[in-house]
C-alpha cells in the first residue's frame, strides 16, 4: 500500500498499517503545554486520578504566553506549573526561555518521524522537521500525560508543490499566506498538508517552520515538509511519501512571480498582494511569535533598519528564544535593531495573544509577523492587525505606512 507521510508516521505509532480515515490509538513520543493550556491540563490530570506521568522525560511545560506574569492570577498559574513540574519530575521552561515550539525544536525534544502532541494550535510547526505535530486542548493533553497515547483519525492529505525560486524579500511567510487564501481558513480542516517542490526543499529550517506553522491557519491537523534538504545538527531518518500515495487534492504553484503577501483584518485568509495596501498608515509594528522571529527573521529586519531611525511608529521585537536573542546579540543584530529604536521584550508569545506587553489602542493599525489577526487577537477588538513577513514589518515600521522593503 503506497502511503503518504502521515500514513507512514501514524502506522509506526499505531503498530499496524494505517490509511486515511482509520481511527487508531497511537503511542506518542512527546507532549508539551504552555501557561495558556497547562493549568487546565494539570487540573484534568488530577481529576483523572493521575499520580505520575507516563514518562516524565517526554513531558515539557513552557511559560511563554503571559511571561513574565502580568498579574497575580497568572503568577499563581505559573506557580502551579512550577510546583507540578517539580513534583512530577518533568521539564519546565520558565519565563524568558522562549516560545514553546522554538524550544521543542531547538532542544530536540521533537525529532523527525515523531508523533508529538502540543496543547497549542501551532504544533503543526514540527512538520518542518518531518514530524507529525498535532495541536490539542488541555484535556486531550492530560490524557496523554497519563497514558502516553491518544486516539485520532488518520487524515487525508493535500499535496502542495511549490516550484521556482522566490524573489528578493519574498519567502515562506508570503507563500504561506498565499496558500491560506487559496485553500481558505477551513481548506485543510481534518486533513494534513504535504509541502514539496524546489521552493520548499531549498528552505532553511526556520523558513520550513514558518511554512508548517501557518498550515494551522488552513485548519490542517499537520503540515509536513518534504525532508529533502533538511539540515539538522543530529542524524535522522527522513520519511518520504511513497510514489502513488493517495492524495485528497494536489495543488501546484510557481512562486517565481509571487509578491509580498499581507493578510488584512480580521482573518489570515483575507490575503492580498502588498501592492493593494501600499500607503496604509501604521501605528505599531511587531516582530514575534512562533511563526516569524527566528535569527533569519531578525537578520531580515536588521537589513532593512541598519543605520536608520524609527521615527514614525513603534517597533516591538520578541525573539523566539533566549538562544535566538543571544545569537543575535553575538552577531551584532540586536545592536542594529536597538540603535534603530526597536524595543526588545521577553522571548515568548508577547503581544501576539493579547495578554500584555504591547496591546494596541483603539483605532490603531498594527503590522505584525505573527499568525492571526482575528478581531481582538492582540487584546483590543478596536484595533486592526495586518500580517506579513518580518522584512515587510520592518520596512513598514520605518516608513510609518505599508511599504515594500527595498
Amino acid at each position: 500500500m503506497a502511503q503518504t507521510i502521515s500514513e507512514k508516521i501514524l502506522s509506526q505509532h499505531a503498530g499496524k498499517p494505517v490509511k486515511a480515515g482509520d481511527i487508531v490509538i497511537v503511542r506518542v513520543d512527546g507532549v508539551m503545554a504552555t501557561d495558556a493550556t497547562a493549568p487546565f491540563a494539570i487540573k484534568a490530570f488530577r481529576q483523572m486520578s493521575g499520580k505520575k506521568l507516563w514518562d516524565s522525560g517526554r513531558v515539557s511545560l513552557i511559560i511563554d504566553h503571559a511571561s513574565p506574569a502580568p498579574n497575580e492570577t497568572v503568577a499563581n498559574l505559573h506557580k502551579l506549573m512550577r510546583d507540578f513540574a517539580a513534583e512530577m519530575g518533568c521539564r519546565l521552561y520558565d519565563i524568558g526561555e522562549g516560545i514553546c515550539h522554538q524550544l521543542m525544536v531547538e532542544n530536540a525534544h521533537v525529532k523527525p518521524g515523531d508523533l508529538f502532541l502540543g496543547a497549542d494550535s501551532h504544533t503543526p510547526t514540527y512538520g518542518a522537521l518531518n514530524a507529525f505535530g498535532i495541536g490539542v486542548g488541555s484535556t486531550d493533553l492530560a490524557a496523554t500525560m497519563l497514558t502516553g497515547k491518544t486516539w485520532l483519525k488518520a487524515p487525508k492529505t493535500i499535496k502542495v508543490t511549490l516550484n521556482g525560486a522566490f524573489r528578493k524579500n519574498v519567502g515562506a511567510k508570503d507563500v504561506a499566506l498565499f496558500l491560506i487564501k487559496q485553500l481558505g481558513a477551513e481548506g485543510a480542516n481534518y486533513q494534513a498538508v504535504e509541502f514539496t517542490g524546489e521552493a520548499v526543499t531549498s528552505m532553511t529550517l526556520a523558513s520550513r517552520m514558518a511554512l508548517a506553522n501557518m498550515s494551522s491557519e488552513m485548519g490542517a491537523k499537520a503540515g509536513l515538509v518534504d525532508p529533502t534538504g533538511l539540515d539538522l545538527w543530529y542524524p535522522f531518518e527522513p520519511t518520504f511519501p511513497d510514489a502513488g500515495a493517495d492524495y485528497a487534492r494536489e495543488l501546484t504553484f510557481d512562486v517565481s512571480a509571487l509578491r509580498p503577501q499581507i493578510a488584512k483584518p480580521y482573518s489570515p485568509e483575507n490575503v492580498v498582494s502588498i501592492d493593494e495596501l501600499k500607503g496604509t498608515k501604521i501605528h505599531y509594528a511587531f516582530i514575534g511569535s512562533c511563526t516569524n522571529t527566528r535569527l533569519e527573521d531578525l537578520h531580515a529586519a536588521a537589513q532593512v533598519l541598519k543605520g536608520k531611525k524609527l521615527t514614525n511608529t513603534r517597533l516591538i521585537i520578541a525573539p523566539a528564544s533566549k538562544k535566538v536573542f543571544n545569537d543575535a546579540l553575538k552577531d551584532g543584530t540586536i545592536e542594529i535593531l536597538s540603535e534603530a529604536g526597536a524595543t526588545f521584550i521577553t522571548s515568548g508569545c508577547g503581544p501576539c495573544v493579547g495578554s500584555h506587553l504591547g496591546v494596541p489602542g483603539d483605532g490603531e493599525v498594527v503590522i505584525t509577523s505573527t499568525n492571526r489577526n482575528f478581531q481582538g487577537r492582540m487584546g483590543n477588538p478596536k484595533a486592526q492587525v495586518f500580517l506579513s513577513s518580518p522584512a515587510v514589518v520592518a520596512a513598514s515600521a520605518l516608513a510609518g505606512e505599508i511599504v515594500e522593503p527595498e
Binding site: I23, T37, F40, G135, V136, T139, E186, Y190, G219, F374
Partner: protein, 163 residues
C-alpha cells in the same frame, strides 16, 4: 414541554478569540470565562443566554487556538449544545472532551428564538417552532464513547486507558 432556545450567529470562521479573547483565558475560574463569552461578537450574549440554550453557528466554528477555555466558557455560560455547519478540528475534540455536545448540521432553517431539541444518539435536530427536523453528520465512534462517559476525564477514570 419547553425546549431550549436557539441563539443563531450564522457567521463563518467564528474563531476562538471571539468565543473567549486570549486576555481572559489565563484563569481556572469558569465563571470568569462565562462572563466574557462571545463578547466581541455580541456584548449581550452572556446576559441573554439561559441555562440549556443552544448556540447555532456557520462553517468552521471555533477555528484558531487550541484553548479549551472556548468550549468551557460556552458550557459555563449555560450553552447545552452547539450546532454548526462545520467545526474546526481542535474545538470539536475539546468540546466533546469537556462534555459539551456539538453537532454538525449542514442544512437547517433555525432562527434565533426557535425552540430546538437535539437527539445526539440519532443525530437529529428538531425545530419545534417550525415543525422541522434536520439530519446531522455522524460522529466518530470513539467520540460517542467519550461523550457517553460525560467527557474524557470520566472516560479515563472509567477505563484507565484508551480502549
Amino acid at each position: 414541554m419547553t425546549h431550549p432556545t436557539a441563539h443563531v450567529y450564522l457567521v463563518d470562521n467564528l474563531d476562538t478569540d471571539r468565543i473567549i479573547p486570549g486576555k481572559y483565558t489565563k484563569t481556572l475560574e469558569l465563571s470568569a470565562l462565562a462572563s466574557h463569552v462571545l463578547e466581541d461578537l455580541d456584548p449581550e450574549f452572556s446576559k441573554k443566554v439561559q441555562r440549556g440554550d443552544i448556540l447555532v453557528a456557520g462553517n468552521n466554528f471555533g477555528c484558531g487556538s487550541s484553548r479549551e477555555q472556548a468550549p468551557l466558557a460556552l458550557k459555563a455560560a449555560g450553552v447545552s449544545v452547539v450546532v454548526a455547519r462545520t467545526f474546526a478540528r481542535i474545538f470539536y475534540r475539546n468540546a466533546i472532551n469537556i462534555g459539551l455536545p456539538v453537532i454538525e448540521v449542514e442544512h437547517h432553517n433555525i432562527q434565533s428564538g426557535d425552540s430546538i431539541s437535539v437527539d445526539l444518539e440519532h443525530g437529529i435536530v428538531t425545530n419545534h417552532t417550525k415543525n422541522e427536523t434536520y439530519q446531522a453528520a455522524k460522529m466518530p465512534e470513539q467520540m460517542i464513547d467519550i461523550l457517553h462517559a460525560g467527557g474524557l476525564v470520566n472516560y479515563l477514570v472509567e477505563h484507565g486507558d484508551y480502549v
